[in-house]
Every structure is written in structure tokens, then in C-alpha cells.
């Protein structure tokens, strides 16, 4: 009996290592691993590489009031400065990472394939949820948002719009 347990464990660890290796390269096999890994236990180890994140993402939104006028763009507080204690305690990193992951998921869709159906994707709905949870004027009827990327190494550069939403009823 013991020998079967040992063999099963060795096979499991071996399979896990092979799956991890396969997942690192952008190949069709990596997608197969990802599709079958419902718990996300197969890691992706390519931290900050090959392209290190060089920009900050900002979520801005504005509302259309009942009279048809728009409010000014407001930035959501997602890139606020870290506290001096973030080396020990940094819950906000998960919020920033979730937004960045969702934007990355939407940005990974080829432009030629982007259509209105993107609005029912989980990534889009997650961003919409976040934006719609922000406070609004009492006469606000619709809300739209943009995700913009800025580069601190080039402060004069115009922010790049990564995603512009439709106008959503509130």
C-alpha cells in the first residue's frame, strides 16, 4: 500500500512541476494548463518580466446628470501613496493588483475582436462595480469611466487611455 502512496505523491509532484514549466511560456499548452487549473494552483513565476510595469493605472469616472450635463472627471483612489508600514501591512496591494489584472485581461483581447460583448465579461463588470460603488450626486443618472495609464518617468506625456466604458445607467 505504502509504495502506491509514494508513487502517487511522486507522480503528483512531478506533474505539478511539469505543469508549472509549461505554464511559463505563452503557448497553446499553457492555455490548456490554465483551463484545467480551476484552483489556480499552478503558478506563473515571470515576475515583472519580460516587461516590467512602468506605468500607473488610474480609474476616472464622470456622471451624466438628469439635465444632460456631465460632471467633471473624478479619479478613484486606487494609486494612493503607500503607508510607511507597507513593508509589513499592505492590504491595498490586492485592490491595485485586481484592477491591474482586470485591465490586463481586457487589454489582452485583440482590438479587432473587441465588441460590445466585452461589457458582459467578468473583468469589465468588476471594474464597473468598483466605479459604480463610488459616491454620486443625487441627480446622477448615468456613469462612464476610463482607465488611463501614466508614466512618472515622462511627466509631460499624455496619459494613455487603456479602456473607455459605455455610459451605464445608475
Amino acid at each position: 500500500m505504502t509504495i502506491f502512496v509514494h508513487a502517487a505523491v511522486v507522480a503528483f509532484f512531478g506533474l505539478w512541476l511539469v505543469a508549472t514549466l509549461i505554464k511559463q511560456a505563452r503557448t497553446p499548452w499553457a492555455h490548456v494548463v490554465q483551463r484545467h487549473d480551476r484552483l489556480s494552483i499552478v503558478p506563473q513565476w515571470t515576475f515583472f518580466a519580460p516587461n516590467p510595469g512602468r506605468s500607473d493605472l488610474h480609474i476616472l469616472y464622470r456622471d451624466r446628470r438628469a439635465d444632460g450635463c456631465y460632471t467633471a472627471w473624478t479619479e478613484m483612489n486606487t494609486t494612493s501613496a503607500r503607508s510607511p508600514w507597507s513593508w509589513l501591512w499592505n492590504p491595498r496591494k490586492r485592490v491595485r493588483k485586481a484592477i491591474s489584472d482586470a485591465v490586463g485581461a481586457l487589454a489582452s483581447i485583440p482590438q479587432s475582436e473587441v465588441g460590445p460583448e466585452i461589457m458582459v465579461s467578468r473583468a469589465y463588470l468588476m471594474l464597473l462595480s468598483t466605479v459604480c460603488s463610488a459616491e454620486r450626486p443625487v441627480d446622477a443618472r448615468y456613469r462612464e469611466f476610463v482607465i488611463a495609464a501614466t508614466d512618472r518617468t515622462d511627466p509631460d506625456a499624455v496619459p494613455r487611455v487603456r479602456l473607455r466604458s459605455a455610459l451605464h445607467p445608475l
Binding site: F13, I41, W45, T46, L57, T130
Partner: protein, 270 residues
């Protein structure tokens, strides 16, 4: 190497791992408002991905929506019990199982927002459970510690090779660019690297070199003093990324694997 040495290694792994698990669970508790309906981590969005069958859906609703705070508190208590229970006992087995189940449920709960520290924590937990949980024996202990060591080397190695093929990393400018962001940066460190770009280049390339060295398995091939130097670099690297980039839980997740590496190194060199 005796079973006692493997057990001491297990204690060291689990103690360091637990610090990270306690911090990340408390961080999730502090983000409770973001899990409410209509917020960033709203359950209804995740449920669309997982929903399969009425019974399974009801169970997940109970655990990951209505009972989510309870799940986090349960995990916290179980992690503390796991860290404080030194000897094989019923309490240890129960805490181990609860930590494992709650960790897997948390993996289901998040589609986005997980990072490399969550991944390494999961690798360590599952492997250590197989090696030192209810079915533990000498072979499984060694196999689990070897697996943790292999995943650690793979993690650094893949990160190193991915950097090595990147012109930005090879040019030595990547660290300065990352540190110049608000998300992962540090204004003071970025300014210092701008003033001394030679230092930035050396640091960037040293990260690539050390990660590739781990990937090549040098931490096992080199004799003890040199291998420990590589591990000391790893600790310094994770402390630096915690302080400068706010990657606080990476430190505990990755350094918790080092006792396993030391154990396997000792096995190979004796």
C-alpha cells in the same frame, strides 16, 4: 539525515509561512467592505465563473459570500494553532486540514488580485501537508521538502530567464523604471537611482544573475558557505522588495521555503 532533522525543517517552514498567512488573512479581513455586493470583489461576479449545480452553488454561497468573514476568522485561528502546535496531535491534524481547505476556498474566491506570494504559499502548504500531514512518513517528508526546493528554484529561475531575454532588464534600467511608479515604487529610491544610474544597473543585473543562479540549481551544487550566500541574497532581496515595493507577503512566502532548501542541500552534501 534523521527524521528529527526533517521535523525541525518542517517547524521552521511552518513558522515562517504562518507569519505570512496571518498577515494576509488579517489584510483580507481589513478589506471586508470590498467583498460586499456591488464592490470590487463582489461574490456575484466570481460565482458566474464557478457556478455548477445547485447544491455546489448553495455551498459556495454559504462559505464564500454569507460566511466569508467567518471563513477568514476560522483560517486565522487555524493558522495560529498550526504555528503553535509543535508535536503531532489531533489538534495539529485538524488545524492543518482547516488551513488547507480554507486556503483552497480562498483561491476559488479570487479570480484577480492574487500575487506570487499567494502562489508560493499554496505550493508550500499543499506540499507540507502531504509530507507532514496525516499520511506522513520519512519518504513523503523528504519528497515534499525536495518539491518545495524545486519549485523555489523554478520560480527564481523562470523569473531570471524572463528578465534575461528582456532588453529593458538587460540594459539595467528596469529597477529604476519600476521604482518610479506609484504602484510598486518608492519616490526616494527612484530619485537615488536616477542620480546614480550605475548603481541601478548593477542592482538590476544582480537580480537577474542571482535569479538565474537559483534556476541553475547552484544553491544545491555549491558548498555550504556559497550556497548560504545565495540564500542571504534571497532574504535581502525580499526585504528590499517589501520595503521599496510594498510586496510584504512575498518575504514570508519565499523565505519559508529556505529551510527546505537547506535540508535538501544537507542531504546532498552528507
Amino acid at each position: 539525515m534523521t527524521s528529527a532533522a526533517a521535523n525541525e525543517t518542517y517547524r521552521a517552514v511552518i513558522l515562517i509561512w504562518s507569519v505570512g498567512a496571518i498577515i494576509s488573512t488579517l489584510e483580507l479581513l481589513s478589506l471586508r467592505a470590498h467583498f460586499a455586493p456591488g464592490r470590487l470583489f463582489a461574490w456575484t461576479l466570481v460565482r458566474r465563473r464557478l457556478a455548477r449545480g445547485e447544491h455546489f452553488r448553495s455551498l459556495l454561497d454559504a462559505l464564500l459570500a454569507r460566511g466569508f468573514t467567518g471563513l477568514l476568522v476560522t483560517r486565522l485561528v487555524a493558522v495560529v494553532a498550526l504555528a503553535l502546535t509543535p508535536k503531532v496531535s489531533a489538534l495539529l491534524n485538524v488545524s492543518f486540514a482547516v488551513v488547507l481547505v480554507t486556503t483552497l476556498l480562498l483561491l476559488l474566491r479570487f479570480e484577480w488580485g492574487k500575487d506570487g506570494s499567494d502562489q508560493m504559499s499554496t505550493v508550500v502548504l499543499i506540499a507540507i501537508y502531504i509530507g507532514f500531514g496525516p499520511i506522513s512518513d520519512d519518504f513523503l517528508q523528504k519528497a515534499s521538502l525536495a518539491f518545495i526546493s524545486a519549485q523555489t528554484c523554478l520560480a527564481y529561475g523562470v523569473a531570471g530567464v524572463a528578465k534575461l531575454v528582456s532588453p529593458i532588464w538587460r540594459s539595467g534600467s528596469a529597477l529604476a523604471l519600476i521604482l518610479d511608479t506609484s504602484t510598486y515604487g518608492s519616490a526616494g529610491a527612484a530619485a537615488a537611482l536616477r542620480q546614480h544610474d550605475g548603481v541601478g544597473r548593477i542592482l538590476t543585473r544582480s537580480v537577474v544573475a542571482a535569479e538565474v543562479a537559483f534556476g541553475l540549481g547552484l544553491v544545491f551544487l555549491l558548498p555550504a558557505p556559497l550556497a548560504w550566500t545565495l540564500l542571504a541574497w534571497g532574504v535581502a532581496f525580499h526585504v528590499a522588495t517589501a520595503v521599496l515595493m510594498g510586496l510584504n507577503t512575498f518575504l514570508w512566502a519565499f523565505v519559508s521555503t529556505y529551510p527546505a532548501i537547506i535540508y535538501i542541500h544537507s542531504l546532498l552534501w552528507t
